[in-house]
Assembly symmetry: C2
Homo-oligomer: 334 residues x 2
């Protein structure tokens, strides 16, 4: 067995946009699992906008420190320690090929369909879309649901779930190609470009009956625009704010907070997928079934090799990805 | 019978802080009620921060126009028309002594205790406090509830209801006198001054276990400060934004939206008391009982004469009032 573990560290906390020099490679010996631990070989690494937010301050997890292995969600297999070798597990191993983790911190995965979907459509993104839309947004059939970051890992699933729930679905994305993809392949009723100067007018035209649910992945000026178009008793699902992550100088908050909330009885609610932890198994089964029968399409954007991860994240923050971006770090466990 | 009706009109839409010259007095003949209408004599006029917001744009009601009778909530008695004379009614007659209104637009009131309480503690303010706190904020015993505008018409009731619900209660108000009143007479556990430069530190000290529910009457920088101190799964009840009403140039939104909502799973929710219309009778009975048995204290700030209304509203927007400000327009109906 190869005794070396390649890692990527956060070398320097970015002060503005993330760049390659903020990362550093290192090779160390693979660790030995102690009592209550497992050694995992990592197969797939999830690249997420939140990776950037973790560098900037305390979020739902502690801020990343300089010199630490870069954090990230992963899928791998147990090769030694307190779980049977070969067990496929979801874990937060970070940007490295091997990791020693507490056995209690890894989650055995019953693989259904493609392994990579367990990082995306039946993993964190699918669950985030499912609970954020259905439990936080609570759309009714016939309502209009708008989602930003609509071609992203979570957004493209949100739109399809809203369609399954009987809603009119409008996506907000950043390129003409993405807009075509959403309307022509994923069943969105309409899509608009957030880079257009006529975003507000375009969105209004795409939502002739107003917005009932807005699933927000981006924050900033897009959030501000949607607030003014929400219907009475509309709901804004606060899932992320990718427009504000790649900077240490976030913009002021959206105008209309709390004005529109008061005048239109709006609810804005943030959540994290672990808030619904007890409800995961049912949701995973449903997502897997919809994927299997083709009612849900999972877009993937696979990048090869651990050392591609920094560029993959930098590109993601600029909106390069279509669907779920994943780095293939090692061989498939099966 | 006196055939003249004195009125105050919105003469000019304010472009900055509200001043006396934005109003104009007029005397007209009292109207005759037609079929399906009633003629009311107004006894009491409610002075509310929302009166100013109505001048600035569309809220939950149409914007006020120049030359219109100034709008406002009132209590009066029917003197002619489609309801029995002497019926005490709550209505939106505006700033005048008499009004002809559709019978369907006035609400007969079963007077319990002081008539004026039906504009305040058992009227719109009491119901706003009750439903905003209990149905939107949903505090649990042992949680910490913070309310801004805490010495105002709604805020002083919110704090007392939170105390009845078993919470630690902290008020935010604008003067040392108000702070003393809250803690010494109304049972608030602590109160802090929003004009202090150490507001964040003071609030933090007053809430050693963080904020679970923040009942926001003011918006702006106070809202921004509280967001950073909210506990995981905290709730912000958006009731008003008085800091932003007396201007045509509202500040940008609070920083931390949507960031804190996402990272702390916060819910911010606006409402209007009519959202809970079907639940009013129960709430009114409870509020009246608590007032009668002294568990709830209603602060009132009575001003004499219709022509005092403009100065009463201007002062209210500066924070002059303590508790519910009411203008006595005519004799008590009973």
């Amino acid at each position: 067995m190869n005794r070396l573990n390649r890692q990527i560290l956060l070398a320097e906390r970015p002060d503005g946009p993330l760049e390659l020099h903020h990362f550093r490679e290192r090779t160390v010996e693979i660790g030995e699992p102690g009592p209550g631990q497992v050694l995992c070989r990592i197969a797939l690494l999830s690249i997420d906008p939140a990776n950037r937010a973790w560098m900037q301050g305390r979020t739902y997890r502690d801020q990343l420190s300089e010199g630490e292995v870069m954090a990230g969600f992963t899928l791998g297999e147990v090769i030694a320690g307190d779980l049977p070798p070969g067990t496929v597990v979801a874990c937060e191993a970070g940007w490295q090929e091997y990791a020693v983790l507490p056995a209690a911190a890894v989650r055995p995965v019953t693989v259904r369909g493609e392994l990579s979907h367990h990082l995306g459509a039946v993993g964190v993104n699918g669950l985030t879309a499912y609970f954020g839309l259905l439990e936080v947004g609570r759309p009714q059939p016939g309502e209009t649901v708008v989602v930003s970051g609509a071609a992203g890992a979570t957004g493209h699933l949100v739109g399809q779930l809203a369609r399954l729930a009987g809603c009119r679905v409008v996506g907000i994305a950043g390129s003409a190609d993405k807009i075509r993809l959403l309307t022509e392949q994923l069943g969105f009723d309409a899509a608009v470009n957030h880079r257009s100067t006529s975003l507000r007018r375009d969105l209004r035209a795409a939502c002739p009956e107003g917005l009932d649910v807005y699933f927000d992945n981006v924050g900033g000026s897009v959030l501000e625009t949607t607030l003014s178009l929400m219907n009475q008793r509309g709901r804004v699902v606060c899932c992320g704010a990718v427009s504000q992550y790649d900077t240490s100088n976030p913009a002021p908050g959206p105008r209309g907070v709390p004005g529109y909330l008061v005048s239109k009885s709006l609810r804005m609610e943030g959540f994290i997928v672990t808030d619904f932890h007890g409800l995961w198994p049912n949701a995973e089964r449903r997502l897997a079934r919809w994927l299997a029968d083709g009612r849900l399409i999972a877009l993937q954007d696979m990048v090869e090799g651990l050392y591609s991860a920094p560029a993959a994240l930098i590109g993601l923050l600029k909106g390069d990805n279509v669907g779920k971006r994943i780095v293939r770090v090692g061989p498939d466990p099966r």
